[in-house]
């Protein structure tokens, strides 16, 4: 196989991985660090995508649209936190899952009522619509480079925030033992609200940025929720580094499964069987990876809380 092709596919794997990380970032923060399972994260992602698409179409500026989407979603998240999520921090995961699943059901109907059932148009900003030549033989979508960069930036930012800032420590303290953190003088409620809003901002950012390369439609949040959760779990809940590594791993395995497995199978198996099995394996690569990791390391690659 052509080395440039292999390189390109690796790059695609990394790109997809970073995309997944972008999606998982806010979830890592809220679920991994704050230990609150917020399924409605997907709904916030959807809100970000919808608002950005609408504003971009109406106003023309993509950056402006992303900013408005983030701001508006944070506002929504603020209400959500105030009315519902705040009361869930102290509850177990199952209660959180149930209540935020309820939020999803409401959010999907609300979006349909406001924007209708059809997908929205979300266009790539003209300047980034085409490819750039990375190598003479290798054009790469300019927009994906932006996603890559933002994904990296978010990863680094999150890592620093969680592991090397006081806010990060206070969040972790509040999440593991809220009472004690309060006895140490931490305004846990306020810290949590802030982190939840930050998580929502990341969800909205992901949604706004993913809009131009994916379908902006109802249910888009649920579809990404599973891969995002897979990433967090493989990495080890609570570990930003873990989520990052896992995202890249999932991206690479998934891409490799799609790009290299079918030809490989075709060379060793009868064609009909290979045609059946190849894509089937590629489809479950992510899950096989997760199962394998958890069987070997029941608390993920980088268990944060032993």
């Amino acid at each position: 196989m052509d080395p440039i092709f292999i390189f390109e596919q690796l790059l695609n794997g990394v790109g997809y991985g970073l995309m997944l990380f972008l999606l998982a970032a806010g979830l890592t923060l809220v679920f991994g660090i704050m230990d609150t399972m917020n399924l409605a994260h997907g709904s916030l992602y959807m809100a970000g995508a919808y608002i950005a698409a609408r504003v971009h179409e109406a106003g023309g500026s993509f950056v402006g649209a992303v900013l408005v989407a983030v701001a508006a979603t944070v506002l929504v998240a603020f209400l959500l936190e105030l009315l519902i999520v705040r009361k869930l921090y102290a509850r177990d995961h199952l209660a959180q899952v149930i209540a935020t699943f309820g939020v999803i059901l409401i959010a999907d109907d609300a979006v349909k009522a406001v924007w209708g059932p059809s997908p929205l148009m979300a266009t790539t900003p003209a300047a980034l619509a085409g490819p750039v030549q990375l190598l003479p033989e290798l054009p790469y979508p300019a927009y994906r480079l932006v996603l890559l960069a933002v994904g990296l930036l978010v990863a680094v930012g999150l890592y620093v925030l969680v592991n090397h800032t006081r806010v990060g420590m206070l969040v972790r303290a509040g999440a593991s033992n809220r009472r004690m953190a309060e006895f140490m003088g931490v305004r846990v409620g306020r810290v949590f609200s802030f982190v939840f809003a930050l998580g929502a901002a990341l969800a909205a950012l992901a949604g706004a940025l993913m809009g131009p390369i994916s379908a902006v439609q109802i249910g888009m949040g649920e579809a990404i929720l599973i891969p995002a959760l897979v990433v967090i779990v493989i990495g080890g809940i609570g570990s930003v580094r873990g989520a990052f590594v896992a995202a890249l791993l999932v991206g690479l395995v998934d891409t490799a499964g799609r790009a290299f497995l079918p030809p490989l199978l075709r060379s060793v198996l009868p064609p009909a069987l290979a045609a059946d099995l190849g894509p089937a394996f590629a489809g479950i690569a992510m899950y096989v990876l997760m199962a394998a990791v958890l069987i070997l390391k029941p608390a993920g690659l980088f268990p944060a809380r032993a």
Partner: protein, 366 residues
């Protein structure tokens, strides 16, 4: 007793967009008929089944046992149609498909109670294959999701396509990222690409395809991968896509001109999709049949015979049913272009096949 029509709709779930189109086309027809079928009072019982075949069977049971329906229509996907078919056939309730045309119902499991008012699934692809021949595409890459319908569509394309298939790519159902596949396409350097990726998958793929700088490799697809719903969601990147269908909104047939005008008036200037057109046709077909039997819908043999005549003003123009109750009809080539007001939409380019019949009719023994 009004005539009762059970309508199972994909209002939520994976085909929600198409379900909405179906409903809009259907409601327009109902409105134009003054909520009557063949002059009789009619009741259209519409309900969501969320695109889930199991829920669809549940709903059909209710339609049959509680509501005692006289006609059935609505589901978008083949799997739901296949799930509900047997119960309807056993109860002798005509199922007028407003979209799916699974090969089983066209062949081995054909039934006098099933009417593929729309088309048989593979025929769009057959037309696409023929277009590819005519355009002189010698090498092609074919891409579809990895499930039976995906394989059927690719099979349909290959049936008439004469060039070489460089690669058949089957993708994961519900896939979001297509970079790996797009890279494969680039590496294969085909003359054109045949795409069958329904709903969100198609939207994702098309958005990513053009961004990768492959816009010089043309795309051919069956009509639904480049219909108005997709065009509206993807925008510019669809420009120039070739696609085949048995209907186009600019098809110059009186019934169609009337339909498109009424549709655009009712729904803020939006162009109808093929799904809306089909749903509209389904209601019109029912209307004609009820009229023909003089409102005696209990006589199912008579209703079926009346339906079989296809004696209504279809928006696609005149057509006949084959032995398997699937239409023998024309297929057209459309291309995504801009209309007078600069809006992206399909433009009718020409006729690909005339009075074409599907490949499965031979398997149908009824």
């Amino acid at each position: 007793e009004p005539v009762k029509v059970g309508v199972a709709l994909d209002i939520s779930g994976p085909f929600a967009t198409i379900g909405a189109e179906t409903r809009d086309g259907l409601n327009l027809a109902v409105e134009r008929l003054g909520s009557k079928l063949g002059g009789q009072a009619a009741e259209f019982i519409q309900q969501d089944f969320a695109g889930n075949p199991e829920q669809a069977t549940q709903l059909v049971n209710r339609f049959l046992q509680r509501d005692k329906i006289d006609f059935f229509t609505g589901p978008v996907a083949s799997n739901s149609a296949l799930a509900v078919g047997p119960a309807l056939f056993a109860a002798k309730v005509p199922f007028l498909s407003s979209n799916p045309g699974p090969s089983l119902f066209a062949g081995k499991q054909c039934s006098p109670y099933f009417f593929g008012v729309s088309y048989q699934n593979d025929t769009y692809d057959e037309a696409a294959g023929k277009v590819a021949n005519e355009k002189g595409f010698k090498n092609m890459v074919l891409i579809a999701p990895n499930y039976p319908a995906g394989k059927d569509h690719i099979g349909g394309f290959k049936r008439l396509y004469k060039g070489t298939v460089k690669e058949e790519i089957y993708t994961k159902v519900g896939q979001i990222d297509y970079a790996a596949e797009i890279a494969q396409i680039r590496a294969a350097k085909p003359d054109a690409v045949f795409v069958f990726l329904p709903a969100a998958m198609g939207i994702n793929f098309l958005k990513q395809y053009v961004g990768s700088g492959l816009k010089d490799i043309p795309l051919i697809s069956p009509g639904f991968t480049a219909d108005q719903d997709v065009i509206d969601a993807v925008g510019e990147p669809t420009l120039g896509m070739l696609n085949t269908a048995h209907w186009a909104h600019d098809l110059k047939v009186p019934a169609n001109v009337e339909f498109v005008e009424a549709f655009r008036k009712k729904y803020n200037g939006r162009y109808p999709t093929v799904y809306a057109a089909q749903a509209y046709d389904v209601v019109m077909a029912m209307d004609a049949a009820v009229r023909e039997v003089g409102g005696k819908v209990d006589n199912r043999e008579a209703v079926v015979a009346a339906l079989k005549k296809a004696n209504f003003k279809s928006v696609r123009g005149e057509f006949k049913y084959g032995a398997n109750n699937f239409p023998v009809q024309n297929y057209y080539l459309r291309v995504v272009d801009k209309d007078a007001s600069g809006k992206l939409t399909n433009k009718l380019v020409g006729t690909v096949m005339e009075k074409h019949q599907d490949a499965y009719v031979g398997d149908c023994r009824q």
